[in-house]
Amino acid sequence: MLGQAIRRKEDERFITGAGLYVEDVQLPGMLHVAFVRSAHAHAIIRGVATDRARKVPGVVAVITGDEWPELASKLPELNGSVTMTSPYIDSLNVAPHFLFPKKVCYVGEQIAAVVADSAYTAADGVEAIEVEYEPLPVVASWEEAIKPGAPRVHAGFDNAVAHLKHEIGDPLAAFNDAEIVVERTLKTQSLKSMAIECRAVAAQWEQATGTLNVWSTCQFHYMLRNTLAEILNKPAESVRVIARDIGGGFGLKGVLHAEDIIVPLIAHRLKRPLRWAETRMEHMTASNHSGNQTNKVRVAAKRDGTILGMDLVMHKEVGAYDHFDMMLQINTVNHLTTHYKVPNLKIEGWAVSTNTPPGSPYRGAGRVEAVFTMDRMLDAIAREASLDPIEVRLKNIVTPADMPYRNGMVYRDGVPVTYENIDFPLLLETARKRADYDGWRQRQRELREQGRSIGIGVSSYVEGGGLGPCEGASIKVDEIGRVTVKVGVNSQGQSHETTLAQVCAATLGVSIDDVQVLGGDTSLMNVGFGTGASRVAVNSGNAVHKAANEVRRKVVALASKILGSTEDEIEISNGVVSVAGARQNQMTLGELAGRAIRDRRMAELGGPGLVATEFFYPKTVTWASGVNIAIVEVDRDTGKIDILKYVFVHDCGLPLNPLIVDGQISGGFAQGLGIALGERAAYDEEGQVRSGSLMDYYMPRASDIPDLDVGHLQFPTPDNPLGIKSVGESGPNSPPAAIAAAVEDALGGHVQITKLPITMSSVLEAVRSQ
């Protein structure tokens, strides 16, 4: 059961069109919301003329920020819901973020809401509203924002809103001892998660029960519940957030946006069901983005390639409002050294506000930036020392003999980063063999003679995943033997209804067909966090395991009494409870569940029924890892990059379902490929979005995707009973670095690829510069 490639239980509704995404929620009398959005990246709102809009046929209400007191509320400051500590940060001073600000700080920021009888008439209403702006000077990049005297995004707040530093060993001495010093300025682009479903929220005030029902695309539905309850000064349980079928998340939906709060507040006041579904254009303009990052890096090394030390200075754009302190940069720091030893390290970083939408994570969440930095620097050493890139890696690699290995970092849960039971050299060797690395080196030389530009790139990643604090699971066996598992997380496609059912079925001894998993609804569990940071398999998976074991304990205790055996003799298989060696002495789990409701002996077993609720608190994150090797051909005349072969070797501990692990790797790889080759959220100097639709924002399609040769290794973690590690954010981390290395290699090592994405245009420019 565990570890088997079982097809997904959730698929039936999706392949028949029966999924219920937020935009599919239709309620009697439902009205539609549309937002008036700022045309300027920075301006004081002098006035909003709404009279004409109120007369537009179909328009029911026009709401501005001064309509009701609750609309003067702020968004919660720290949105990174599972962030618990912020190591390394020594200064943080972020401006408050109001639902309806009096001064807009990015293009697309919400100014007013129109409620109408259809999405069409709501759009008519928006068009009829005139906003009077007093434009202010704009800073749209970190480079502009940190210049002395630069305009401030928020009066009274520095544009550099946060700062971190961290030091390991004696970096100064390392650079003094260096035989080689390499230096690069590495730039990674801002991205949008680009789930195919844009954001949406529907809300209904249920007068009879005094409940505000909210359907949301938010990855962290409890955060939304708690925020709404707090603003409305109601008990948390009077707000129910349903976030069940969500069309992809990848980080952008992991943060509260103003609309998530405004729409339920309006529904509560108007006592009419409402729905707002973001259009793609709104998404491209106003939804969060991940922010450009520049890493200025110096590495000290010996001539044989041994790294002595590293000096890293990071600047990260966090947009108009910073809700994540420096989470993404902390992730970059904690994933920076990947598989390698960097004994002396100095890191400094700034989070810089700009007049662009707020920053938020995108799958990988700082890891792509880490991997790109480490691998580009290893390649720089290789080039400087005339060594093969793999040789340099082997020189610095952390080996099993070094385990448990501490690299000197501290994770966001406050626990020192520790690698245990991972064989990095084996990952590298496996990838090298699968890719036929040595064979390709040979072919590369031969084909170069024929004028063809072949390149090979290697990249290694680690993925700290399964961040706590905890998740719970509540399991109940009913009187016909059906098992229901309730969890505090929701799914944006991660297959929880299958993998968590597998855990339950395997632990309890029932058929997976008899297990249903319910999640994505705050009424199911009192406490939950949500889906992000690759945390569900580890947290919820182990919680389900724990709860199923507890139910099992009750089954064994009660059944032994009813069947007159010892506890050790009780067996549970396929939903039947029996006494070992006495086949006729058995009953179904359903019968037992029925008995367990009335049987007084349950008083000593925690109360009536075969039920249990358990929480799993991970000790710290688990460390998944992998090695990618890309072999590319570059067309020097057109800048086109063809991927000839791509090898992806990884470890995620014990896979719950290999089919789903493959899907996570394949999907994450495709996103990494997009990051490597073209995805980019771009803003001009005035803060206007340049990537305003899918006409300009590249996302890989089927014809862009090469075959993927995936190699699975298994290094189970000793830190949880199931030995599972995360996999969700493994995919995208290495493709940008591997492809950058391969392209640089293909171009003969005469140019440096230091910037993502590696577009055809950037290759052409590199070729021209040779």
Binding site: R7, I15, A277, P700
Partner: protein, 168 residues
């Protein structure tokens, strides 16, 4: 201005008064309640809204409902027959051709046309015929496997080129 239109949707004749500006996708979703067809972009790139119109795969977000007057429309809700899944639907499930499921209805409707036009498609034909559909979750590998399996199933002779590992 309202127009009387009559469209056969999933075999059933539906007559309604609609505004001229109503897009076909909103007619299907909001008027008929067939919410399996999704909207993912504004510019006809993503293909989540793909339905079959008079036998052809089209992007229903770029067609007015009035333009579809008198046509025969099939959506994801109508692709199966007699309560059974269509072989393409089965194949998507068996080969993990979906994750979040949002692009899936449009993807399946596009694949239906693909296999009508290319009953025994090469991998290149599959990839290029999917140019009108974007999936953000799967990285397409599961989708391509599903299409190969569906082609085999519908053509009832497995192509030795296809190497599949279906889930149990």
């Amino acid at each position: 201005m309202k127009h009387s239109i009559s469209i056969t949707v999933n075999g059933e004749k539906r007559s309604n008064e609609v505004e001229s500006r109503l897009l076909l996708v909103h007619f299907l979703r909001d008027v008929l309640g067939l919410t399996g067809t999704h909207v993912g972009c504004d510019t006809s790139q993503c293909g989540a809204c793909t339905v079959s119109l008079s036998g052809q795969a089209v992007k229903s977000c770029t067609i007015l409902a009035v333009q579809a007057d008198g046509t025969d429309v099939v959506t994801i809700e109508g692709i199966g027959a007699d309560g059974k899944l269509h072989p393409i639907q089965e194949a998507f499930r068996s080969h993990h051709g979906l994750q979040c499921g949002f692009c899936t209805p449009g993807m399946i409707m596009a694949v239906k046309q693909l296999l009508e036009r290319y009953p025994d498609p090469t991998p290149e034909e599959i990839r290029h015929q999917l140019d009108g559909n974007i999936c953000r979750c799967t990285g397409y590998h599961g989708i391509i496997k599903a299409i190969e399996a569906a082609a085999d199933e519908m053509g009832s002779k497995p192509n030795p080129r296809h190497k599949q590992t279906a889930a149990s």
